[in-house]
């Protein structure tokens, strides 16, 4: 973010209700520094899109204030906010050509013809669609339409760009490619981007920080690696990446460590994240790729599990096991080429480090 020309955004105790009975967004406080790529991630109905729409000006906040560069914008109509936006289905105007679509925001700003053409040309080249100016949106492929939508949101040099699940309609391969392109555009221009998605891979690949939404509340706001490595609660642990759940009860706490007794009596050492006292119910979260089959005695946790199913996936093998009475336990074994002696029905020792094993709030 060397050449930052982005805007700062601040939500201050923002609440939103559509029906006056329930809150869709509950007391949101969020500070987005200039030039950041922030992703609002969450399942549908978690309030993330509402937050974006309030920032864009299409939904009024029921309570609280939103600041753009320290200026309150609750009473500023959307067309005066100067925020670029990429919509879920691109919302390219079907009756205009690509060039006309791009020129639209410049025309309404009364920018001279020559400068318009110059900017449109530059924007089209930025998304590598220089030759497509005279086509109609319907004549373009999904990926091309997506790029036009991005170019249109950037052509008038906004300081802030909002993206509402812009890659949702693309196929997997194209989506991955577009993720990098958007990321690079962000890096080159230095604008602030607020990106909404329900796809966690997308969030992890692109963002500087991710705000995980659930039930109208930000569950965790951190960088992608922290989000994955140190989830603050069970929802985040489950929503980001794959995750084994083992439920039990806290029996001992020593500083950052705690000892958890699982329902079948197995005792595990875990990182104390979201439990407070001895006797609390807890759910232990463990990433499948952190399960080790080459066990050593120095490991924090050593346990035996019976192999129920082996699924060959090329680069790795998924092993479904029965561990401590839970037969949904998944372990990932990297495919190293040598024949690993795993077969269904075997009971094998497994182990993992205490740091990979998080004691979080209990889930039913």
């Amino acid at each position: 973010m060397a050449n930052t020309r982005g805007a700062a955004v601040r939500y201050e105790s923002v609440q939103k209700s559509y029906d006056g009975v329930s809150l869709v967004v509950k007391n949101l406080n969020l500070d987005i520094p200039p030039g950041e790529f922030l992703t609002m991630l969450g399942p549908s109905g978690s309030g993330k899109t509402t937050c974006l729409m309030m920032l864009a000006g299409f939904e009024p906040a029921t309570h609280g204030e939103i600041f753009l560069n320290d200026r309150p914008i609750n009473n500023v109509p959307p067309h005066k906010r100067g925020i670029g936006m990429v919509f879920q289905n691109y919302a390219l105007f079907p009756h205009m050509t690509v060039a006309e679509n791009l020129a639209f925001p410049l025309q309404v700003r009364n920018i001279g013809k020559a400068e318009q053409e110059e900017k449109v040309k530059r924007a089209l080249e930025m998304v590598e669609l220089g030759a497509f100016g005279n086509r109609r949106p319907a004549q373009l492929s999904g990926g091309q339409q997506q790029r036009v939508a991005v170019a249109r949101a950037l052509v008038f040099d906004p300081e802030l760009v909002l993206m509402d699940e812009p890659l949702g309609a693309l196929d997997k391969q194209l989506r991955e490619q577009m993720q990098y392109e958007i990321k690079h555009i962000h890096e080159n221009l230095g604008v602030t981007v607020v990106y909404v998605t329900h796809d966690q891979t997308e969030a992890l690949t692109m963002s500087d920080r991710v705000a995980v939404f659930n039930d109208g509340v930000i569950q965790q706001l951190s960088s992608p690696d922290v989000l994955y490595e140190d989830p603050q609660n069970s929802f985040v642990a489950q929503f980001i990446g794959e995750n084994n759940k083992l439920s039990g009860k806290v029996v001992d706490i020593q500083g950052k460590e705690c000892l958890v007794e699982l329902d079948d009596g197995t005792r595990l050492k875990a990182d104390k994240v979201n439990v407070s006292a001895i006797g609390d119910r807890t759910t232990i979260s463990l990433r499948p790729e952190r399960v080790e089959f080459d066990t050593t005695d120095s490991m924090d946790n050593l346990i035996k599990g019976r192999i129920e199913e082996l699924i060959y996936l090329g680069d790795h093998i998924r092993v479904r096991m029965n561990v401590a009475g839970n037969d949904e336990f998944i372990a990932k074994v990297r495919n190293r080429g040598e024949k690993r002696q795993l077969s269904v029905g075997d009971t094998v020792p497994i182990g993992w480090s205490l740091n990979d094993c998080k004691a979080l709030d209990p889930v039913a």
């Binding site: 864009a56 000006g57 299409f58 109509p77 959307p78 067309h79 005066k80 906010r81 100067g82 925020i83 670029g84 936006m85 919509f87 879920q88 289905n89 919302a91 390219l92 105007f93 079907p94 009756h95 639209f104 925001p105 309404v108 700003r109 249109r152 949101a153 008038f156 909002l162």
Partner: protein, 421 residues
């Protein structure tokens, strides 16, 4: 099917030509499809296509002269109206023979009224002659006896008219529908005080355009609201739109009579509030105003429904996108929303205009004399004056006018741009 001598015909395994095999394989399916539509097809052909074709044919059909007076028509071939003299004895002898048969079948009066459209007085001539023809003596010179019965028989003009309209096909009805007439001296416009149809056509077109514009002006905001409101609210509004649509046409038209007449609700209210004095109550019915108001109301749903169905498909994200790009409400509407609603406007306008141009009942009931349409005149000729030929010609012209407008419309807006739902 393909019994060609060609050696290259593809055949099936057992040597049947492939085309033939395919046709017989599909025959059952085709037959079944045909059987399924047959009842409707026959119904439509018998009750719709055939009568219309028959009526359209009547606009040029003129067999009555030759059918009633076959020998006379034949004898008149030799006579030249330019001679300035009435035809000779041979023609009158033929006329006598024809009239005897016609009087027996009582067809002479019908011929009289047919020819009376072209030249007034001929109806009474045939009636009078019909009464006398029985007393005539075929052995005596007949020309003198006919002239004695009515001296119009000596006039060249009578015979010229008869000769002029003896062919079985005539353009006379179409000319009459265009305020012109066929005379022995060629095609002439009717005297100015008898011209009526061209003006009526013009008025029908003009009022239909006005009604279409009124419907668009009133219907567009409603359709917009219908498409924008949440489903539950828009359903209630939709019922309000459809309720009048389901109500009888006559009830609605009569309701307008109650509202608009000089002693009606609106005038009473205006007098009561003092906007108009009791002496000069507004004349809002039995004139063009009445026709425009009542027909706009009746045709409004035909504008709203196609508009709504098109607007429903315009995603709200377009307007949002426009606003996020810096357009204010008006520019977002005018440059982004409106162009996308044009197919709906096209469909609604065509529908309302075509319905309006052929409308009959409402102008009849609330139009007075200044608000009636060409269709009222057609109805008059079909049911009162019984000049079916003229009625058919007017109808055919109306049909042609609509078709021309349709083609023009297709050229300008493009029929592919029209969406009915």
């Amino acid at each position: 099917m393909s019994d060609t001598a060609s050696q290259q015909v593809l055949t099936t395994q057992d040597g049947k030509p492939l085309k033939q095999a395919l046709a017989s394989a599909l025959r059952r399916e085709k037959l079944r499809a045909l059987l399924l539509i047959a009842p409707l097809l026959i119904f439509v052909l018998l009750t719709f296509a055939a009568p219309i074709a028959d009526m359209l044919f009547r606009s040029v059909e003129n067999g009555i002269v030759e059918d009633t007076l076959p020998k006379t028509v034949d004898a008149l071939q030799a006579w030249d109206p330019q001679s300035g003299q009435s035809p000779g004895e041979a023609v009158f002898a033929a006329l006598y023979d024809d009239m005897v048969v016609a009087v027996e079948n009582k067809t002479h009066t019908r011929l009289g009224s047919r020819l009376n459209y072209e030249k007034t007085g001929i109806s009474s001539l045939f009636r009078k002659t019909g009464r006398r023809v029985g007393k005539m003596d075929a052995a005596e010179p007949l020309k003198a006896q006919f002239i004695k019965a009515d001296d119009k028989w000596d006039e060249v003009e009578t015979w010229a008219t008869l000769k002029l309209f003896s062919p079985r096909i005539t353009p006379a009805y179409f000319l009459a529908a265009g305020d012109a007439q066929l005379t022995p001296d060629g095609i002439k416009m009717k005297p100015a005080d008898e011209q009526i149809y061209l003006f009526l056509f013009w008025r029908t077109l003009f009022l239909s355009v006005v009604i279409t514009l009124c419907c668009l002006l009133l219907g567009y905001p409603i359709a917009f609201l219908l498409a924008a409101l949440p489903l539950r609210t828009s359903n209630i509004l939709m019922i309000l739109v459809l309720l009048p649509f389901w109500t009888s046409l006559l009830v609605r038209t009569s309701a307008w009579k109650v509202l608009l007449q000089q002693q009606g609700v609106i005038n009473d209210f205006l007098v009561w509030t003092g906007f108009v004095s009791d002496a000069d109550r507004l004349v809002m019915i039995n004139n063009q105003t009445g026709t425009i108001i009542a027909m706009t109301h009746i045709l409004l749903p035909f504008m709203i429904l196609p508009l709504y169905s098109v607007m429903k498909t315009i995603s709200p994200s377009y307007v949002r996108a426009a606003k996020s790009l810096g357009a204010n409400d008006w520019i977002a509407f005018w440059r982004v929303y409106f162009p996308q609603s044009v197919p709906g406007i096209g469909a609604g306008a065509v529908l309302v205009f075509i319905l309006a141009i052929g409308y009959y009942i409402t102008p009849e009931l609330v139009g007075g004399t200044s608000g009636i349409f060409i269709s009222n005149r057609i109805a008059y000729h079909i049911s009162s004056s019984l000049n079916w030929g003229l009625g058919a010609a007017l109808g055919a012209l109306l049909l042609i006018a609509v078709m021309i407008l349709f083609v023009v419309y297709d050229k300008i807006v493009g029929i592919d741009n029209v969406k009915l739902g």
